[in-house]
Symmetry: C2
Subunit: 210 residues, 2 copies
């Protein structure tokens, strides 16, 4: 694993954890010092993330966590739905006991934050697909939404609402019932994202930069 890979992972994990609020600027030499490297590999990692849309570069102002418009949030949700459905279709016939156990584990895991645990669950279900690129795309979409999901959950007081939906979805996967699983995933994603989008719309209407 190269230096650039390590830096990239650190920043992605920070995003998935919600440690980087929208708008946060990333100081290249600070990050470089923290990791004990020079700016060069740091910049290369940031450029990777900007290619994925997880960061935004502005000339002479460096990289920052982009703020999402409502339209972009909707776009992300639609993309997520259509990609995740295809991956799940591909994954279910290939799922092993291990994959299912990993998904189960992610559900109860109190070590992880809400968005981390959520993504760990979904990734566990998808990994049997073997679709490297598709998985990467979905991870990106999760990471891009994470800061806002966190804000939304905070505004709710910290409840994780989709526990039971996750359990149902897991059961359908266990039984190998592709069509039911796809139906459950579709409605689960629709509910989760419409909640966040409504939350975003309210704030956008109020003129908040969130």
């Amino acid at each position: 694993m190269s230096t650039v890979d390590r830096v990239e992972r650190v920043v992605i994990d920070d995003l998935l954890r919600g440690a980087l609020a929208p708008g946060t600027r990333i100081r290249q030499d600070v990050l470089a010092d923290q990791l004990g490297v020079s700016k060069i590999p740091v910049r290369e990692a940031l450029q990777r993330l900007s290619a994925l849309g997880l960061l935004h570069f502005e000339t002479n102002r460096g990289a920052a966590v982009p703020t999402l418009s409502v339209a972009e949030a909707i776009e992300n949700s639609v993309l997520r739905k259509s990609i995740e459905v295809e991956i799940l279709r591909q994954a279910i016939p290939n799922m092993s006991i291990v994959d299912l156990a990993e998904a189960e584990l992610a559900l109860g895991n109190a070590e992880l934050g809400v968005t981390e645990s959520n993504w760990a669950f979904h990734r566990a279900l998808y990994q049997a697909s073997g679709w490297t690129r598709g998985l990467a795309m979905v991870e990106i979409l999760h990471a891009a939404m994470a800061p806002y999901v966190l804000l939304y959950i905070e505004s709710l007081g910290g409840a994780e609402p989709s526990e039971s939906e996750h359990r149902e979805l897991l059961a359908a996967c266990r039984e190998g019932d592709v069509e039911r699983a796809v139906r459950l995933l579709t409605s689960h994603l629709a509910e989760a994202s419409s909640a966040v989008i409504d939350f975003l719309s309210m704030n956008e209407a109020r003129g908040d930069d969130v």
Copy 2:
């Protein structure tokens, strides 16, 4: 537009043109000299492309155009289909005369190579969606397949087979008939990609690195 942006565009365009065959290694200082810059922005651009899966970095061996397995080609096709359908749905109600004219123009344009013209046509249809991320994803998938599409067409003797399908699709968009357009796009993509995938399968069976 930053230096990194320029370098990135040059390489993506080379890929879409098919100027970079699978397996080609990219020499950083050669490219840097050609563009009159140092290695730093070149490497940053290559890292962006590697994040998108258009290039593959190997430690101490730099970046190279990845060779696609049949499984990956199938994955790309499925992803393309599901993403492009959603974008087209979003785009049709927002299409302007200009978008349609651009698409028409791309069809007949003999200046462009086959894959370039094909992508120009599809992009023209999609741009009205306003979906930045979705468009970027689809462009990536096109660029990843382009080297192989080129090889396939070469093996056929250079014929562009999907002219009439394109015209039908364009007509449906003009009439604003979303469902017909989606049907046409779906079958068009299915045909085009299954041809390339069959071609790839043959070569993989023969043990060619293509």
